[in-house]
C-alpha cells in the first residue's frame, strides 16, 4: 500500500497554556479530500497552522518527503486596503510570467485580472486569486481554511467546481477546514470531526448522523441525511 502523504500521531497543541488540540491522530492519503469539520473554536485553524509548521506542538507530524504544501488562509484583513494589483501579489512569491499564466488558466480567470487592484475584486474573484496564489508554487497538497467564508452563494458554487476540477487535473490532495456541513457531503472523501479532540473520522455518509453532529456541536441541531442524485 502507498505511504500516506501525511501522518499525524498523538498531536497535542497548547497555546498560552490552553489545550487546543488533544491527542489527535490521523492519516491522509494522496489524492484524498479530507474535510476537517467542527464548531468555532474547535481548533481547526490551529490544526492547519500546526500542520504547516507555524505553531509549536508535541507529537508527530510526518509529511511525505519533499512534499510541497499550498495554503489558503481564512482571512487576509489588511490586503484589501493595500494599493496592490493582483500581479504584484503574485510577484511576492517569485513566480515566472509563464507560471502565472498557467495558474490563471487553472483558476479560470483571464489575464485582465492581473491589472486589477486586490481591493476591487469580488469575494469570489478574491478567493480564486488566493487559491491561485497557493497553486503557484505547484503544491501536491492544498490546505484550505474556511475557503468559502464570505463568498456569495453563486461564488461558492464556482469555487467548489474549481476545486473539483483542480483535484482531478493535478491529483491534488486537499485538506479542507469548514463548519459548513453541505460542503462535506458534496466534496469530501473523508471527514474528521474535531472539537479539540477527534470525535469521529470516516466517510461522510457513514459518520455524519444526527447524534454525532449534535455531539460535535454540543447542541440540538436538526440534520437530515438526504441523497443527492
Amino acid at each position: 500500500m502507498e505511504e500516506p502523504i501525511l501522518k499525524v500521531k498523538n498531536l497535542n497543541v497548547k497555546l498560552d497554556g490552553e489545550e487546543i488540540i488533544k491527542d489527535l491522530s490521523f492519516e491522509v492519503k494522496e489524492g484524498e479530500v479530507l474535510t476537517i469539520l467542527g464548531p468555532n473554536g474547535a481548533g481547526k485553524t490551529v490544526l492547519l497552522k500546526t500542520l504547516l509548521g507555524i505553531l509549536p506542538y508535541e507529537g508527530e507530524i510526518d509529511w511525505r518527503k519533499e512534499v510541497k504544501i499550498g495554503y489558503v488562509p481564512q482571512r487576509l484583513p489588511f490586503i484589501k486596503d493595500m494599493p496592490m494589483s493582483v500581479k504584484e501579489f503574485f510577484d511576492l512569491e517569485n513566480v515566472s510570467e509563464n507560471e502565472m499564466k498557467e495558474v490563471l488558466k487553472s483558476i479560470g480567470t483571464g489575464q485582465e485580472i492581473l491589472k486589477k487592484k486586490i481591493g476591487e475584486l469580488s469575494s469570489g474573484q478574491f478567493q480564486r486569486t488566493l487559491i491561485g496564489w497557493a497553486l503557484a508554487s505547484n503544491p501536491q497538497i492544498l490546505l484550505f481554511d474556511e475557503p468559502l467564508a464570505g463568498v456569495d452563494v453563486g461564488g461558492q458554487e464556482s469555487v467548489y467546481n474549481l476545486l473539483e476540477k483542480l483535484k482531478k487535473e493535478k491529483n491534488l490532495t486537499i485538506l479542507f477546514v469548514t463548519h459548513e456541513l453541505s460542503i462535506v457531503y458534496k466534496f469530501s472523501d473523508r471527514v474528521l470531526c474535531l472539537n479539540k479532540r477527534m470525535l469521529c473520522c470516516g466517510v461522510p455518509k457513514e459518520i455524519l448522523i444526527p447524534e454525532r453532529i449534535s455531539e460535535l456541536y454540543s447542541g440540538e441541531i436538526k440534520f437530515y441525511q438526504h441523497r443527492h442524485k
Binding site: 497552522k49 504547516l52 509548521g53 507555524i54 504544501i69 499550498g70 495554503y71 488562509p73 487576509l76 489588511f78 490586503i79 493595500m82 494599493p83 496592490m84 494589483s85 504584484e88 510577484d91 511576492l92 512569491e93 487592484k117 508554487s137
Partner: protein
C-alpha cells in the same frame, strides 16, 4: 558648499528615506510607532546637546534602549504593546525635561538642520542611502509578512529576521529624523507621505514611488524656512500635510460617481 544647500540635501535624503520606509510601516499599521520612538529619543537628544555629540547618535541609542525595554516588559507582563509604549515614551519625555538645556529645547523638540555641518550631512546622507537600500531589499518579503505572517512562513520566510531588520531600520530613521523634525514630529515624516501616496496609488509600484516623491518634496519646507525664518521642521510637516490635503481632494474628485 552653502549652508542652505547642505541643509536641503540632508532634508531631502532624510525625508525620502523616512517616507519610503513609512510606506511599509503604513501597510503594517505601524505608522504611528515612530512617534513614541521619537519621544523616547529625547533624553538621548538632550545628552547629545549637552555634551556636543551628534544628536542622531544620542537618539539612536535611546530608541534602541526603548525598543528593548518595551519588548522586555511585553514578555514579562503580557500587557498590550501600546500601553507599554505609552509608559516608556512618556517616561522618556519626562526624564528628558530634567536636563534638556532650555535654550536648545526647540531644536530637540522640532529639529534644526539649518546649521548642519558637512561631516554630519555626509554621514546622514550615507545612512539614509543604507535605510533606502535595505528597505528596498526587504520590501516584498515585508509586504507579504504584513499581509499574513502565516502565508510568509509557508514561503519559508524567516519572519523574525525580517522583523528585526525592519525594526532596526525604524530606529535608524527615527534617529535621523529627529535631526530634521525633532523628537515630537518624527511620526509625521514617516506617516504623512505614505498616507498621501495611498490616496493616489493604484498599485504597489506607484505607492512606493509616490511616497518617496512626497517625502522628498516635503523638503520644500526647508526652502520656506529660509524665506520666512520660521523653523524648518514644522514647515516640512506643514508642507507634507498640505500635499496630503491635495491628494484627498484629488481622490474625492476621482472617486465621484460617474454618470
Amino acid at each position: 558648499m552653502s549652508q542652505f544647500f547642505l541643509s536641503l540635501i540632508t532634508g531631502i535624503f532624510i525625508g525620502g528615506a523616512a517616507a519610503y520606509l513609512g510606506s511599509l510601516m503604513l501597510s503594517k499599521r505601524m505608522a504611528l510607532v515612530a512617534g513614541p520612538l521619537g519621544h523616547l529619543a529625547l533624553p538621548g537628544i538632550a545628552l547629545a546637546l549637552i555634551y556636543g555629540f551628534d544628536i542622531s547618535l544620542g537618539a539612536f541609542s535611546f530608541v534602541i534602549l526603548g525598543i528593548i525595554l518595551i519588548w522586555f516588559f511585553e514578555r514579562k507582563t503580557k500587557l498590550p504593546m501600546e500601553a507599554l509604549t505609552a509608559i516608556v515614551f512618556a517616561s522618556g519625555v519626562a526624564i528628558a525635561f530634567f536636563f534638556l538645556p532650555i535654550d536648545q529645547a526647540e531644536q530637540a523638540l522640532v529639529g534644526d538642520i539649518s546649521k548642519i555641518q558637512l561631516k554630519e550631512a555626509i554621514f546622514s546622507v550615507i545612512l539614509c542611502a543604507i535605510v533606502f537600500i535595505m528597505t528596498e531589499k526587504i520590501y516584498s518579503k515585508m509586504t507579504l509578512i504584513n499581509i499574513s505572517e502565516d502565508l510568509a512562513k509557508t514561503q519559508k520566510i524567516d519572519v523574525k529576521k525580517y522583523n528585526l531588520i525592519y525594526l532596526l531600520l525604524i530606529a535608524l530613521i527615527v534617529a535621523l529624523g529627529v535631526k530634521v523634525v525633532g523628537g515630537l514630529l518624527t511620526a509625521a515624516i514617516v506617516a504623512i507621505p505614505a498616507a498621501t501616496s495611498r490616496n493616489l496609488a493604484k498599485n504597489l509600484v506607484q505607492y512606493k514611488f509616490l511616497a518617496l516623491s512626497f517625502g522628498i518634496l516635503s523638503a520644500f519646507g526647508i526652502f520656506l524656512s529660509k524665506l520666512t525664518s520660521l523653523p524648518a521642521g514644522p514647515l516640512i510637516i506643514v508642507v507634507s500635510a498640505f500635499f496630503f490635503l491635495i491628494s484627498m481632494i484629488l481622490k474625492m474628485i476621482l472617486n465621484l460617481p460617474q454618470y
